[in-house]
Symmetry: C2
Subunit: 360 residues, 2 copies
């Protein structure tokens, strides 16, 4: 049993496959780009769990299959780590047809995708996300990047994968903290696009946390559907796509302010959504009851709802570095109504007020 | 008096302006993308000569204009140098609308273009080429890159500039060795696409070397026209565009084999064209008289025609790293006839033979 969600950006088109057992299912691997060499990029945590079955699948399709194992964690999402991939590709005689397979979470996917975008000015790559966050968000839509010491995801490219295989079985090995982090991005789709999905998440959160297969399948598929629709309409974030960053302006500031890797990305986004909802309420887009509802759901998902006390000045200066900022003006994804979002600036005083009210 | 050549890749379109005095001509700067910040990227050699007049032009159009000065030379065309641009952009609070201006030769243009492609996943940039090589080749067509210790231009992107200003006056300050290097890329367009242009170059080489304005204007314009036509038909080098790499497979091996910066890129290409023509003759595409004619012209342009003695094994292994290689098979741009080229493999034995005959 498997769902297929298609992403169509107008000039590129690819499938997201969602289901159990995909990594071991030959049908899921059929029709990928041909090449003499396939390279599996993973990290020290995920490679021991799944690299062998991936290599086995690829072995029947590519003359040569090699592996690169990166250090694990957001703290390593930088140029030096990406260069390990380039060193490997050149040492192995990779060419413009070589296919990269990103096996792991969001960090592996983002680095591998950016490496694929840059190596020889572009080689094909496939996403094999093994975390909930990567399956519902980062592996879909072609945003790739590495961090710069002064800002998250500052250096990157829009570069679409050829396919995304979301094998739900890989979620079984995910530590609870990482699973919760992924739930933040699932919850996100409700307030910005689909209140019926938010209702469903509230009703099925216990089943999700218990990792019941049917609940996981629905959450991943519906998340991918919403993301595919948004990305299809606005691949390069000229406008609409920015709504996918709900909670991310505050979230990125938390990540950068505490040092990348201190809070997980999803944890920062969970808390960031609470702050963004509160800011939206001050501007009249939603009411306080909605903010309380979202806060309760984020808390139930095992995510922090109270921001770190960075101090107002530091918060503002970190958020001014956000990629959505323009001419020094911070722009937030705010809720215009439940299920509807847009990107807008907000007065510094109001932002500071919200932060102060939450202990930030 | 100014010529305009338009590049149209189907989804992007921009003008190359060719003429004297463009850097100081307000009309040449009209209609560029609006932003709060413009950043001029140059190097230690070019900045003292032209940065001031560029900053002056930009000062009337952008609220803030800042400068980054890179170390000069191919040896610095790497990630570390590109990171100087990122550091500057983040320190100055650049955003997604910030416009980069690449003022200098091919190295400055390639690094700045790649930085523009990656910064926040893409900001606009403008090419202000000040060398003959950059004006007739590297600033046009959107190939951007940095070198990797194991290969030239291995890490990069296809990313088009918003405009190219070829101010012919800047060629006056070019050292003779660099001017000759640029002539290699001018000569290149003859054998691959336009034998009438080759005739013209032969007839006007003395005028070109004397840097007579009318001769320079014609050489730059016609080179840009041919390049724009090829790039418009095949932006991402699916096929045709590869012919622009005539002489480059041998040339890149010379550059990498001796260490980047030892020979200038154009010098390596000049010598590489002699070898590629000789290889084409062995395969019947042109006759020996043509090879002698091209060799004489390359020599008259002040370029080396004898390759360094790297040894056959090293030559082949360096060329196997070329981006045009596939599954370990080296592919050359060969002449099918005078004025007509295509990319093809050639037997190792024949390549070795040609190298041996030329003392390589």
């Amino acid at each position: 049993m498997r769902d297929i969600v298609t992403v169509d950006t107008g000039h590129e088109r690819y499938d997201i496959l969602v289901g159990p057992g995909l990594l071991a299912d030959p049908a899921a691997w059929a029709g990928l780009p041909k090449a003499a060499l396939a390279v599996v990029v993973s990290n020290t945590t995920v490679a021991p769990l799944y690299a062998q079955q991936v290599v086995q699948q690829l072995g029947t399709r590519y003359a040569r299959v090699t592996q690169v194992t990166l250090p694990d964690g957001e703290a390593h999402k930088d140029w030096a780590t990406m260069n390990l991939i380039f060193d490997h590709l050149l040492a192995e005689g990779a060419d413009r047809k070589t296919v990269l397979f990103a096996l792991g979470g969001g960090v592996v996917g983002d680095i591998t995708g950016f490496a694929a975008a840059c190596f020889m000015r572009g080689v094909p790559f496939v996403q094999l996300p093994t975390t909930l966050l990567a399956q519902v968000d980062s592996s879909v839509g072609g945003k790739t990047a590495v961090n710069h010491p002064l800002g998250k995801n500052m250096i990157g490219a829009f570069y679409q994968p050829r396919r995304v295989l979301c094998d739900l079985d890989t979620l079984a090995t995910l530590p609870p903290r990482e699973f919760s982090a992924g739930l933040a991005e699932v919850i996100k789709y409700g307030p910005i696009a689909d209140m019926a999905f938010l209702d469903w998440i509230e009703a099925h959160l216990d089943a999700l946390v218990a990792r019941e297969p049917a609940a996981l399948a629905h959450a991943v598929r519906r998340s991918c559907e919403i993301k595919a629709q948004v990305v299809g309409a606005d691949e390069k974030e000229a406008g609409l796509r920015a709504i996918l960053n709900f909670g991310h302006t505050f979230g990125h500031a938390i990540e950068a302010g505490l040092g990348f890797g201190e809070w997980l990305h999803g944890e920062a986004v969970g808390c960031g959504m609470v702050l963004a909802a509160a800011l939206s309420a001050r501007l009249g887009g939603v009411d306080e009851a909605f903010v309380r509802r979202l806060t309760a759901l984020v808390r139930r998902a095992g995510l922090p709802v109270q921001p770190p006390a960075l101090g107002a000045e530091r918060w503002l200066s970190l958020m001014r570095m956000d990629k959505k900022s323009e001419a020094g003006e911070i722009r937030f994804v705010l809720l215009d109504a439940p299920g509807k979002a847009s990107m807008r600036p907000a007065p510094d005083a109001l932002v500071t007020d919200v932060l102060r009210a939450h202990g930030g």
